[in-house]
């Protein structure tokens, strides 16, 4: 686990409490289990890898070729805001996406998931193995 992320998670475990940043990351990490049917941080699977997600144009994960035409043409560049909208309802945000998932409807859950993804996918915290 990357050092900074491990430290934050430890702070959450050590008593920063569920309201702290460490708590958000812990919850976000747990929420990522919902994504694990199709995604991984460092490997392309049924869905693309997430390492390096923020700032990347949608449809361009290294080594992943199974994107829908809709996502490739979406012109989305992944940011917290774009990810929040997409995760709320992928098919409303990008009709025709292959991500046939209703979405993470709870605002707080999305915020926690995005907070964790931002840490876990940042350059240096993960190594793409496409």
């Amino acid at each position: 686990m990357p050092g900074a992320l491990a430290l934050l998670l430890c702070q959450g475990l050590a008593g920063a409490g569920p309201a702290g940043e460490g708590g958000a990351l812990l919850r976000g990490q747990a929420l990522y289990a919902r994504c694990a049917g199709c995604h991984a941080i460092e490997q392309n699977r049924t869905g693309p890898l997430h390492c390096g997600l923020f700032g990347r144009r949608a449809g361009t994960a290294p080594g992943y070729a199974a994107y829908s035409t809709a996502l490739r043409r979406s012109r989305i560049v992944w940011s917290e805001r774009e990810l929040d909208a997409f995760l709320r309802s992928p098919l409303d945000q990008v009709p025709g996406t292959a991500m046939g998932y209703a979405g993470v409807k709870d605002d707080a859950e999305r915020a926690d998931l995005i907070a964790w993804l931002k840490e876990a996918t940042r350059p240096g915290a993960c190594l793409p193995k496409p």
């Binding site: 994504c35 694990a36 049917g37 199709c38 199974a66 829908s68 098919l91 292959a98 046939g100």
Partner: protein, 195 residues
């Protein structure tokens, strides 16, 4: 193993029957029953072509995940890390995923779609699988993710009977997850609700 051993009840006749059906290139009786009498699948009567195309896209994503699961259980089975009892259960679960894949591919074809094929290779974290518990934990993570994936797909189907098929698969994969958790020494059913 830290938790309880998992032992597969002996059902040689059922297994042989399934093998024969699959070997002949036919769908199992359960699959045929799941797909039987699906009006929208048969004639597109309940949903528009665009909606059915959307259903096929969702099913194809699920098919990709099922094919990955078949490959993942193969990695586990060939790892040499599983005890005899666990290996039998893993092979049974792999058989379920093969049946799911067959059912999904048939449904996609009926909808006029083109089922995805297995990938030439999968990037599994094999370097992290050092003992039976590692393999079980890896499989449990995939099954838990699959439960969420199907939960997220069920509300999206234009054909509600396809949602029922997805629900049936979801139930099976939730049972896999619970059995794997039990074997890992974890609470097999940790919550009343899953997301």
């Amino acid at each position: 193993m830290r938790g309880q051993d998992i032992v597969l009840p002996i059902d040689p006749q059922g297994s042989r029957r399934r093998t024969l059906l699959q070997g002949a290139g036919l769908l199992s009786a359960a699959t045929v029953a799941l797909l039987g009498g699906r009006p929208a699948l048969a004639a597109g009567l309940k949903a528009t072509p665009a909606q059915l195309e959307g259903d096929a896209r969702i099913l194809n994503t699920a098919l990709g995940a099922e094919l990955e699961a078949v490959a993942a259980y193969q990695v586990g089975a060939e790892s040499g890390l599983l005890g005899a009892g666990t290996l039998k259960v893993a092979q049974q679960f792999q058989g379920h995923h093969k049946e799911h894949a067959d059912a999904l591919a048939a449904a996609i074809a009926k909808l006029g779609g083109r089922p995805v094929s297995p990938k030439a290779g999968y990037a599994f974290p094999v370097d992290k699988l050092r003992n039976e518990l590692d393999v079980l934990r890896f499989a449990a993570g995939l099954e838990r993710g699959a439960v969420s994936a199907y939960l997220g797909a069920v509300p999206l189907f234009a054909d509600r009977q396809l949602a029922q098929v997805a629900g049936s698969i979801l139930a099976d994969e939730a049972m896999h997850w619970a059995v794997l958790r039990q074997a890992l020494g974890e609470v097999p059913v940790p919550t009343a609700f899953l997301s």
